[in-house]
């Protein structure tokens, strides 16, 4: 076999192996998207009921709570950024990071200090590489987040907002995550988690202008709100984590699908080149044989005379 042909064959083999791997990753991601979507759906009833309850307390009583009242001057904001632990997901992580950077820039222009909380190794690596301070970070669960993980993430945020600004607390919390719109569309967006705007929550809970009944609070409206709001934050963080996980798997699936397609194309091109090389080799051999034979024939013809 000619050297040229051998090189092509070797490249085809290596690309075929890569294609097999990306194909497998594509299928794994596809099955995980479905699972993640199912988890998002399973968490919806809890989130919905909780939102309803928050609205009920918020509108049904005149309770003032640090988690619902806007500070007069916002000194410090916390930004929670959700990324994934692993890459190979196209622009998924860079989009989320870009959205967080834009938000941070906007907040800083408004004269606020920004504290960054990061979920996922990719986001953390981004900030560490630039030697920027990260208030807290978590990783290791971004593929399949559980409610316990969401609690872990939400706890320091709730603690930070309950603390006085003078003691290093924050006045508002923003969350940046990738919303799972559909299999093909995922958008990185930022959302203000706290302080809650009860009007927005109310709109979400009762879009048809449904009037909430006058609740009897047990033990009291303040206590209920005290217990309810951290749970609400946790549930929002949980939902964001789940959506982010679903988006990551969808992005991986898409990235791996195009990698598989590219590998297929590459194999096709390389096979063509290999065929041409083989053909050229054969043609050369034939012309060599023919050339040799006619040279021999000429020589014999000469000696006969």
């Amino acid at each position: 076999m000619g050297a040229q042909l051998r090189v092509y064959k070797r490249r085809i083999r290596s690309v075929t192996a890569t294609k097999k791997i990306t194909k497998a990753m594509e299928m794994i991601a596809a099955s995980r998207v479905v699972k993640a979507q199912r988890k998002v759906a399973a968490s919806t009833p809890y989130a919905k009921e909780l939102t309803r309850a928050v609205t009920a307390v918020g509108t049904g009583s005149n309770t003032k709570h640090p988690l619902t009242t806007q500070a007069d001057t916002v000194v410090r904001s916390a930004v929670l950024l959700l990324t994934s632990d692993r890459g190979l997901a196209g622009a998924f992580n860079s989009n989320a990071i870009k959205a967080a950077e834009q938000l941070t820039g906007r907040l800083e222009r408004e004269g606020k200090e920004v504290e960054i909380y990061v979920v996922g190794r990719r986001g953390l690596a981004h900030y560490n590489f630039r030697e920027r301070k990260v208030a807290d970070s978590w990783s290791g669960f971004t593929d399949e987040p559980t409610y316990a993980d969401a609690k872990k993430v939400a706890a320091p945020l709730i603690e930070a907002i309950e603390k006085d600004t003078a003691d290093g607390g924050v006045d508002e919390i923003h969350i940046v995550f990738t919303e799972f719109v559909s299999m093909m569309t995922q958008t990185a967006l930022d959302d203000r988690l706290l302080p809650l705007s009860l009007e927005d929550v109310a709109k979400e809970a009762a879009p048809k202008g449904e009037i909430l009944p006058l609740f009897d609070f047990e033990p009291s409206a303040e206590d209920v709100l005290d217990a309810l709001l951290p749970r609400y934050v946790e549930s929002r963080v949980y939902n964001a984590l789940l959506q982010s996980a679903a988006s990551k798997h969808a992005a991986t699936r898409r990235a791996m699908k195009s990698a598989t397609d590219n590998a297929g194309e590459l194999i096709e091109t390389l096979s063509r080149l290999a065929n041409a090389a083989r053909q050229a080799e054969i043609t050369q051999e034939i012309s060599e044989i023919v050339g040799g034979a006619s040279a021999l024939a000429d020589a014999t013809a000469g000696s006969d005379r």
Partner: protein, 123 residues
């Protein structure tokens, strides 16, 4: 007045149980509370404890609920809990082991959680 209420027992990551019931007893921070159809709208904080649901076909559903809320309006009752398990889902042996471990380590919350599980399973 409707003779039954619709109950949804919802944990953070799934719907544990839903159906029609005639009476629901749950433990709030200020004591046990029983809700029957036609109760006034209520929103309460739940303690870790067993929840008993008397279904409209005469059966009883017991669940171990760890923290959460009870909300009742328009004959619809929702029990929201971070963790909730039906009595037949509870792994008694594991809960017993957990109780032993919590007792030796002096972990009060874990002990309470295991205790609630066992009591719910025993009913």
């Amino acid at each position: 007045m409707a003779a039954e209420l619709h109950v949804a027992l919802v944990a953070a990551d799934r719907e544990v149980w839903s159906g029609e019931a005639t009476l629901v007893v749950a433990r709030t921070t200020s004591g046990d509370i029983g809700v029957m159809p036609g109760h006034q709208p209520l929103l309460g904080v739940l303690e870790s404890g067993p929840v008993t649901i008397r279904t409209s076909d005469g059966g009883t559903v017991v669940a171990a609920v760890h923290g959460g809320f009870i909300s009742f309006a328009d004959d619809k009752l929702s029990l929201l809990a971070e963790v909730a398990e039906l009595s037949d889902e509870i792994d008694v042996q594991r809960a017993e082991r957990e109780l032993e471990r919590a007792k030796t380590e002096g972990d009060a919350t874990a002990e309470r959680r295991a205790d609630v599980r066992l009591r719910a399973a025993a009913r």
